[in-house]
C-alpha cells in the first residue's frame, strides 16, 4: 500500500501516514504545523486605479469571489456584468431560513420550516478575526457582526468508547488533562529528569509555572480540592447563605483521560483560524451575499447557466441558458473575464484556454461535506444544560453539534447544527440518503448526547454539498503535488480570462480565500487593461 521511495516522503503522504496511524486529529494538527493553514494575504482595499475608458469585464459566478471582483471593478469604473446560475447571490455563502425551499440534485425538495429569525448556514458560518478581507467587506457593506462562540467550556466532548458513552464537559477534560500533565512534569523536574534540558534556576521557575498552569495544590499534585475544582468545576457550586459551602469534584484519573481520546479536540480552539475572537453576521452568513447583491443590483443576471466561454484577441464571450425563460440562449461579451465558477463545474464547460489551465481545472477533486440543521421546540441546551453557543465534538458519525451563538435566553424554538460531517466515508454515505433520512440519522445519533432530542424535535433540513446544483461539491481538495504542478497555471491569466475563488487560494474552503484570490486577479487584470489602454 505504500509507494513512496525511500528517503523522500511527500508532505501529503506524510499526512496520510499520520492520519492512518494516529487518527484524524493528529493529522489535523500536523496539517497546521506543516503550514496548510496560512494567514490571509489581504492588504486592504483592492489597489486598482481608474479603468481605461470603456473597458468591460464579464464576471462568471455571483459568489464571494465574483461579487468582490465585480464590486471593486465597478467602483474603478469598469463596465461589469455578472452571470449567476442560482436565482440568488452568494454561492456557497448561503443561509437557509424558514420559508426557503431548496431542491438538490436528484430532485428532492426540502422546505425549511424554521421559525422567524432562525436559520442554518449550510456553507461557511464563521469568520476568524484575521480574515480581514471578509471583515472589511462586512464593515463597508453594513453587515452587522456578532461573536461566534467557537470554544465553550461547558459544551461536551463525547466518545462512544469512553466514560460509558457519557458526554464529558470540555472544562473537566481540559482541566484534568492539563492538571495531570503539569503534575507529571513537576515530578519529573523534582526527580532531576530534566537536568539535561533545563538549568536549576529555570527548573524553579518551571515548577512555579506548572503549579499555576495546571492548578496544582501546594504539594504539586492534581487532586480534589479548591484549586482543581476552580478549573474543572464543582460537584456543588459555591453560593451564599447557609447552603454556601462548595463540594469539590473528583478529578478523573490520568489513564482514563488518556484512554478516552477526548484530549484530541481540546486543541481545536488553539489553531490559528479558530482562535477567539471569531465572528458571524447577525442573521446568517448569507447576509454578506445579500449585501453584495444589493450593491451590484442589476449588474447581476440571475438564473444564467453558463454553457460556453470563448475568447479571442479582442474579448471574451459567454453563452448562457436563461433558466427563467425556458433555457433561451444568450451570449454576452466583454473585454475581460473573471471566472469564479467552481472547478467541479468549470471543467465541464467548453472554454478555449490553453492546456496548462485546462489541466489545472481538471486536477482538483471536490471535498464531500454535509450539514444538518435541526429546529427544536425549546432551547434545551441552554435551559437544561447551560450551553450557550460553542461546539460539542463527538466520534459519532455526525462529528459535531453546534449551538447557536445568537439570541441567547430567548423563548420559543431554537435551531442547532445537528451534524457537520467531513469524514469522507460518512459524508458520502449520508449524501446518498434522502434528505429526511439524513435528518433522522442526525436525530438518532444526537439523542445519544442530548436525550431531549426525541421530545423536543420540531423539523430539520440537510444539505449535502455534492448534491448542491450550483456547486457539485464542497471545495477544491488540493494536494501538495497538485499545487506544485497546477496551482500557478490555474491562477495565471490565459489570454483574457483569469480564475478566482477559494479553489484559487491557499485558504481552501474559507471565504477569505475567495476574497484574496479575487483581489489578486483583478489587480492583474487592471494592469493588463491599463497597458492595453482604451482599446481594452
Amino acid at each position: 500500500m505504500t509507494d513512496e521511495s525511500a528517503g523522500s516522503v511527500s508532505r501529503r503522504r506524510l499526512l496520510t501516514m499520520i492520519g492512518q496511524t494516529a487518527g484524524a486529529t493528529a493529522m489535523y494538527q500536523a496539517m497546521h504545523s506543516l503550514g496548510f493553514a496560512a494567514e490571509t494575504t489581504f492588504k486592504g482595499p483592492a489597489r486598482i486605479g481608474t479603468a481605461p475608458k470603456g473597458a468591460s469585464v464579464l464576471v462568471l459566478g455571483a459568489g464571494i469571489a465574483g461579487m468582490v471582483a465585480a464590486y471593486e471593478l465597478r467602483n474603478a469604473g469598469y463596465q461589469v456584468q455578472v452571470l449567476e446560475y442560482n436565482g440568488r447571490a452568494g454561492g456557497r455563502n448561503w443561509t437557509l431560513r424558514g420559508g426557503d425551499t431548496y431542491t438538490e440534485l436528484g430532485g428532492a425538495t426540502q422546505e425549511c420550516r424554521f421559525d422567524t429569525g432562525l436559520y442554518i448556514n449550510p456553507g461557511p458560518w464563521r469568520l476568524p478575526y484575521h480574515h480581514r478581507g471578509m471583515l472589511s467587506y462586512c464593515k463597508r457593506l453594513g453587515v452587522a457582526l456578532e461573536p461566534f462562540v467557537q470554544i465553550n467550556y461547558n459544551a461536551y466532548l463525547h466518545s462512544q468508547k469512553a466514560f460509558g458513552g457519557k458526554p464529558q464537559r470540555l472544562r473537566a477534560v481540559k482541566a484534568d488533562y492539563t492538571g495531570h500533565v503539569a503534575e507529571l512534569l513537576a515530578k519529573a523536574t523534582h526527580a532531576r529528569a530534566l537536568d539535561a534540558e533545563v538549568t536549576r534556576e529555570d527548573q524553579e521557575r518551571l515548577l512555579d509555572s506548572l503549579k499555576f498552569w495546571g492548578a496544582l495544590d501546594r504539594s504539586g499534585r492534581w487532586v480534589k480540592g479548591p484549586e482543581s475544582s476552580d478549573r474543572r468545576g464543582y460537584d456543588k457550586d459555591p453560593g451564599g447563605g447557609l447552603s454556601a459551602r462548595p463540594v469539590f469534584s473528583e478529578p478523573v484519573a490520568l489513564g482514563d483521560v488518556l484512554k478516552s481520546g477526548l484530549w484530541a479536540p481540546l486543541a481545536f480552539g488553539d489553531s490559528y483560524d479558530m482562535q477567539t475572537t471569531m465572528f458571524q453576521p447577525v442573521g446568517g452568513m448569507g447576509m454578506v451575499g445579500q449585501a453584495f447583491a444589493r450593491e451590484l443590483g442589476p449588474s447581476i443576471r440571475y438564473n444564467a447557466k453558463v454553457i460556453e466561454i470563448q475568447q479571442d484577441e479582442r474579448g471574451v464571450s459567454a453563452t448562457f441558458e436563461d433558466r427563467a425563460a425556458g433555457n433561451r440562449r444568450e451570449t454576452v461579451k466583454a473585454a475581460w473575464c473573471v471566472c469564479t465558477i467552481p472547478l467541479s463545474i468549470l471543467g465541464q464547460i467548453p472554454m478555449n484556454v490553453g492546456a496548462p489551465m485546462t489541466a489545472a481545472i481538471a486536477s482538483v477533486p471536490y471535498c464531500t461535506g454535509l450539514k444538518v440543521g435541526l429546529q427544536f421546540k425549546r432551547r434545551f441546551w441552554e435551559e437544561d444544560e447551560q450551553i450557550y453557543g460553542g461546539i460539542t465534538y463527538t466520534d459519532l458519525p455526525i462529528g459535531q453539534i453546534s449551538y447557536p451563538s445568537s439570541r441567547f435566553f430567548s423563548e420559543g424554538k431554537g435551531v442547532l447544527l445537528g451534524a457537520y460531517i467531513w469524514d469522507q466515508g460518512n459524508a458520502m454515505d449520508c449524501s446518498s440518503m434522502p434528505p429526511a433520512e439524513r435528518v433522522a440519522k442526525a436525530l438518532e445519533y444526537g439523542s445519544q448526547i442530548h436525550p431531549q432530542y426525541r421530545q423536543e424535535f420540531d423539523n430539520g433540513v440537510a444539505v449535502a454539498w455534492h448534491r448542491v446544483p450550483s456547486a457539485l461539491g464542497c471545495f477544491g481538495l488540493w494536494t501538495d503535488e497538485g499545487r506544485a504542478k497546477h496551482y500557478d497555471n490555474l491562477c495565471a491569466f490565459d489570454g483574457r480570462i483569469v480564475l478566482a475563488g477559494e479553489h484559487a487560494s491557499y485558504l481552501p474552503a474559507w471565504q477569505e480565500g475567495a476574497v484574496t484570490s479575487a483581489h489578486d486577479a483583478i489587480e492583474r487584470l487592471h494592469q493588463r487593461a491599463a497597458s492595453a489602454g482604451a482599446s481594452a
Binding site: Y85, P124, D429
Partner: protein, 154 residues
C-alpha cells in the same frame, strides 16, 4: 466549506480506518453486507450493490441516472462508455475531475483518512454497475484484474 471547519474534524470514521487496515479481509455476514459507513460498521462489504448505495448513489443517484445542475454527474444507466471496463476501473481507482479517487494510492482525505476501496470492492461495484441500470456487459472483472491496472493499490 466553511469554511472552516475542515479543521474541526474529530470523528474518525471507524469504518474507513478499519477498511484501511483490514483491506482485503472480506469475511462478512449477511447483515454486514448491508451495513453502511454512516452506521459505524466496518465497511468491508464486497457486495457491489451495497457499495453503490452507500457511496456512488450520492452523485450518480439511486437509478444511476446522474443529475444536471450548473454542471452534471454522468448517468451510469444505459451508458455505452462502460463497455470499456478498464476505463471505469481506472476512473474509480484514480478519480476523474471533481470525482474523488477511491484507490489506496490515489485517494485524498481532508482532516481524516480518505475513503478507500480495495481491489475486491472496486471490482464488485464496477461489475454491479456494468450489469445493472440497463447495462448488460458480461465481461466481469476480478480483484486481480483491478490490481493489475494499478499495482500495489491495496
Amino acid at each position: 466549506m466553511n469554511a472552516a471547519a475542515p479543521k474541526t474534524v474529530y470523528a474518525v470514521s471507524l469504518a474507513a480506518a478499519i477498511a484501511l487496515t483490514l483491506g482485503l479481509v472480506a469475511f462478512e455476514t449477511a447483515a454486514q453486507a448491508d451495513a453502511g459507513i454512516f452506521d459505524s460498521s466496518p465497511f468491508t462489504t464486497t457486495d457491489g450493490r451495497s457499495i453503490y448505495e452507500h457511496i456512488c448513489r450520492g452523485c450518480h443517484m439511486a437509478d444511476g441516472g446522474g443529475a444536471v445542475g450548473a454542471g452534471h454527474y454522468p448517468a451510469l444507466a444505459n451508458n455505452t462508455t462502460l463497455k470499456a471496463r478498464d476505463y471505469m476501473v481506472i476512473t474509480v481507482l484514480m478519480g476523474r475531475r471533481n470525482m474523488p479517487a477511491f484507490g489506496a494510492k490515489h485517494a485524498i482525505g481532508f482532516g481524516g483518512p480518505p475513503l478507500v476501496l480495495n481491489d475486491a470492492q472496486i471490482a464488485a461495484v464496477v461489475n454491479y454497475v456494468r450489469s445493472n441500470f440497463g447495462n448488460h456487459y458480461t465481461d466481469a472483472i476480478s480483484a486481480e484484474d483491478v490490481a493489475r491496472l494499478d499495482p500495489g493499490s491495496s
